[in-house]
Amino acid sequence: MSVPWEVRRDFPLLQRSVDGKPLVYLDSAATSQKPRVVLEALQRYYEEYNANVHRGLYRIAERATLAYEEARAKVAAFIGAPPEELIFTRGTTEAINLVAYSYGDAFVRPGDEILVTEMEHHSNLVPWQLLAQRRGARLRFVRVRPEDGTLDLDSLDRCLTERTRVVAVTHQSNVVGTINPVRDIAERAHAVGAVVLVDGAQSVPHMPVRVQDLGCDFLAFSGHKMCGPTGIGALWGRRELLEAMPPFHGGGEMIERVELETSTYKDPPHRFEAGTPNIADAIALGVAVDYLQAVGMDAVRAHEKALVRYALAQLAEVKGLRLYGPRDPELRGGAVAFSLEGVHPHDVAQVLDGEGVCVRAGHHCAQPLHRALGVAATARASVYLYNTPEDIDALVRGLERVRAFFGLSP
């Protein structure tokens, strides 16, 4: 079970070169490239049936509505959920904010506790900080073990109390790649009566994810990291929770009856989709899901596991290179953070760019995690279904060039 190398041909951008060198794209944890079918779906919508959804009585409006709701069903099925539990959002960040504002403002009381981890992307930390400030709640933190970038689950048990209202945890670290034992965390959180939000931005694109298996209450993810366009993502929520939650934004599309003073609201998911939605990108995300399912998510996961195994072995041979995160590819995904002794990550990334190799450098929107690891910044290479061992070889050659450039001994 593996991804055929021909999938590369489906991605127009990967056919490009920079300064005569083939483009080596190793930044899919930031955003993925898009297959041609997704780009064509965007074009087709605008050229053939661009119309607003849920209201037009003419045929192209019916077609747009059908396609939009079909996309919802596809994205929901992709994570094993019914469509009425799937809300389209701008992305993971908006999905988490939706929960923090709508669920949080309604159900978190002064003195309650919100438990997050040191590993989180800022998008799964700052919304909870804001909620804690609004509601007079207290934030608590599960620690990260600096030696291998895994969560200290002993500290989880110490932090979980009957005051814990929300537990927010990433499924897979966007920096060190760690895959967290979300099901176990959710069981422990449910035992004290907390609800569990999982940030799936780095897991849903890369492995089979089914909400029943995660055992969580909310799952947030982004379309642009899973072969879809930017500006579209999703929140899955357990039906009884969504039904109990007040609206997030008010406006058209989310109401039943509007009086001057008050209104009544639609049922989920439409209650949470005020205004004209991002129709084109939602439809294209549905096509991205079709594309990924045709390849097979088990195959995507197996492919990335093999690539990470190869990358960890090759990178370990580079003198002065330090790797962060778990060494066992079974325990981690395709984001590989590293640093090169004596060269700042920005300079590493800059010289690699000169070789046509795209990696990210900096804190990757995870400053507390870097503090836990004891570094200000790292460089990060991340893979997806279209990467090959040759891409890893180009990275390693580029790193040798970085060493030479900065006068480090061979």
Partner: protein, 154 residues
């Protein structure tokens, strides 16, 4: 193209920073941070008779931010506060596309290659933005130790 960014003199200042360290009791002490990438500079200056008698820096960050700080400490030492402020203006003007005033800027002209890499410009200007902030605070009679931010993203 990379060689334009990483000129030999820049790599030399990065590997062997000049005037590195704290300066106790400095009249000017200011921190500059680059929020998007984590570069940090702490800048210290002793002011005597209206001149920057001694200038030192500490910090961590990329080669461009650290080399630029090192080169700045050499360039402004001994200058009056007004001269130092003018040099900062000239340096920033060069980084934002003006033709460099080679006579005034001297070896700082080596940093103009950074202009071709827009996201790195704020690395080069970080120490200079901190210096200008420090000069303003000093002239306003406010106590040393302020935090400033890098220039906005371009």
């Amino acid at each position: 193209m990379l060689e334009e960014l990483y000129r030999e003199i820049i790599l030399d200042h990065y590997a062997h920073p000049r005037n590195r360290g704290r300066l106790e009791g400095a009249e000017i002490a200011v921190e500059g941070v680059n929020p998007s990438c984590g570069d940090e500079i702490s800048l210290y200056a002793r002011v005597r008779d209206g001149r920057l008698e001694e200038v030192r820096f500490e910090g961590r960050g990329c080669s461009i931010s650290q080399a630029s700080a090192s080169m700045m400490t050499e360039a402004v030492r001994g200058k009056t506060l007004a001269e130092a402020g003018q040099l900062a203006d000239r340096f920033k003007a060069m980084m934002h596309g003006q033709p460099p005033d080679e006579e005034q800027l001297g070896e700082l002209v080596a940093l103009q290659g950074v202009r071709r890499f827009p996201v790195r410009i704020k690395c080069a200007t970080l120490a200079w933005v901190a210096l200008q902030q420090g000069l303003r605070e000093y002239e306003a009679g406010r106590p040393a130790r302020v935090v400033t931010s890098s220039e906005d993203e371009l």
